[in-house]
């Protein structure tokens, strides 16, 4: 039995025709199911566990990167198969998983090509897409073997499934893309150097693939993981292997 979790933004009128087309396509494939709508205060884990008790075998998340992060960061430990139907903008993970945006995603879902995906673990919770440490004076210890520091502030982005987009400067029109690999987390460190008068300039990023990493600072720094912000002094990040059973497409990037 399939259960579909729709993001709240899909209530907007501009998505109604697309959602209708997708529902028709799912019915044609014989994989239509119960629809639940996600709110800001919905506990995804509780909802999914309730549905599994009622006999659900596959949970399909409908929305964008934010929706996938919101649901899977809570429900990574739940034992069931997950599917993803990317709809609208801000959909980069769908591309990594080989799932096209819109009605074509239903075709990928119906084929049920399954893979076990790795998930990132930080302090006490999972993250699916990306972890972002805002610019701060931090020190990074990789796999307890080597230490990375910068003369001033440093911005850190740890990618699990979401690709990393960056520009050399604000004026630079070419967006550089780095696709993460499966089997390792990738940390992108961008040191900041002081500009001539005020403000900071970003340096070229350093890239370190790792399995375990520790970020320390004397002052609290802001961390954002799957859209949730918190302040930390010490952050331990590691990779949890083969945690999520996910339906993926043929054109996946791993």
């Amino acid at each position: 039995m399939y259960v579909y979790i729709y993001d709240n933004f899909l209530r907007q009128k501009k998505y109604s025709s697309l959602i209708k087309a997708m529902e028709i396509s799912l019915t044609d494939y014989g994989i239509a199911g119960k629809i639940l709508r996600l709110n800001n205060y919905t506990d995804a884990k509780q909802v999914i566990e309730d549905e599994i008790k009622r006999g659900a075998k596959t949970i399909v998340i409908v929305g964008n990167d934010g929706t996938l992060g919101q649901v899977l960061s809570r429900a990574a430990t739940v034992d069931c198969t997950f599917g993803f139907l990317p709809v609208g903008g801000n959909n980069t993970i769908g591309e990594v998983l080989g799932i096209p945006t819109g009605v074509e995603a239903c075709d990928v879902l119906s084929r049920r090509r399954k893979e076990r995906l790795d998930v990132g673990w930080m302090n006490n919770r999972y993250f699916i897409s990306q972890l972002h440490v805002y610019p701060a004076k931090v020190e990074v210890l990789y796999d307890e073997r080597f230490r990375v520091t910068a003369s001033d502030k440093m911005e850190i982005i740890v990618c699990n499934l979401q690709p990393f987009f960056w520009k050399k400067s604000k004026k630079d029109k070419d967006v550089q893309v780095v696709h993460p690999q499966d089997g390792k987390l990738e940390a992108f460190l961008r040191p900041l150097t002081k500009a001539r008068w005020f403000g900071y300039n970003y340096e070229d990023p350093s890239i370190f693939p790792f399995e375990e990493m520790e970020i320390k600072s004397d002052e609290p720094f802001v961390v954002e993981a799957d859209g949730r912000k918190s302040k930390e002094i010490k952050l331990k990040i590691r990779l949890a292997h083969s945690k999520i059973d996910m339906i993926v497409g043929r054109n996946r990037k791993f």
Partner: protein, 158 residues
């Protein structure tokens, strides 16, 4: 390949490295950017590009590239390497070591194939395993000749 760019310019840079010597350098895995300091036992299973400063030890079984302006103050072990920056420490390279005109090496080199561009500076011993084996083989017959001389000498005395 990790690096992908919409205008392919970064891709060109990576492929430029790959032309330099035989191994597969397209898969750039670890990059130490400029104004970043790395201290400790820095090892990677994939390719390493150093643009900043590394102290301690560096180890990769694949390709190492030290770019101009980069500094390594460590013993280095690599599959193959291209050096355009400064290295203070002993280097052990399994295959090809390429030194560009801006390279500065302070330490001993142990390498199979060495390519040195005009202007590169080396201060240290250079050892090549192929040459060592030739010397051994050359020493082998000489000692046998000596032995034969010694054995013949008493005969001549008689």
């Amino acid at each position: 390949m990790i690096f992908q760019q919409k205008n392919q310019s970064r891709g060109n840079e990576v492929s430029h490295h790959s032309e330099a010597s035989g191994q597969n350098k397209d898969e750039v895995e670890t990059v130490v950017g400029p104004s970043v300091n790395v201290e400790g036992d820095f090892s990677s299973e994939g390719n390493i590009i150093v643009k900043g400063m590394v102290a301690g030890s560096v180890h990769t079984s694949k390709y190492l590239s030290v770019e101009q302006g980069a500094k390594i103050m460590a013993n280095v072990r690599a599959g193959s390497a291209q050096i355009a920056g400064e290295v203070k420490g002993n280097m052990k390279v399994k295959e090809v070591l390429e030194l560009t005109s801006t390279a500065r090496i302070l330490g001993d080199l142990e390498v199979k194939t060495l390519i040195v561009e005009a202007g590169a500076l080396i201060s240290g011993k250079v050892m090549m395993p192929g040459f060592e084996s030739e010397v051994k083989s050359a020493r082998g017959p000489r000692s046998s000749v000596k032995k034969s001389d010694e054995s013949e000498a008493p005969v001549a005395a008689v």
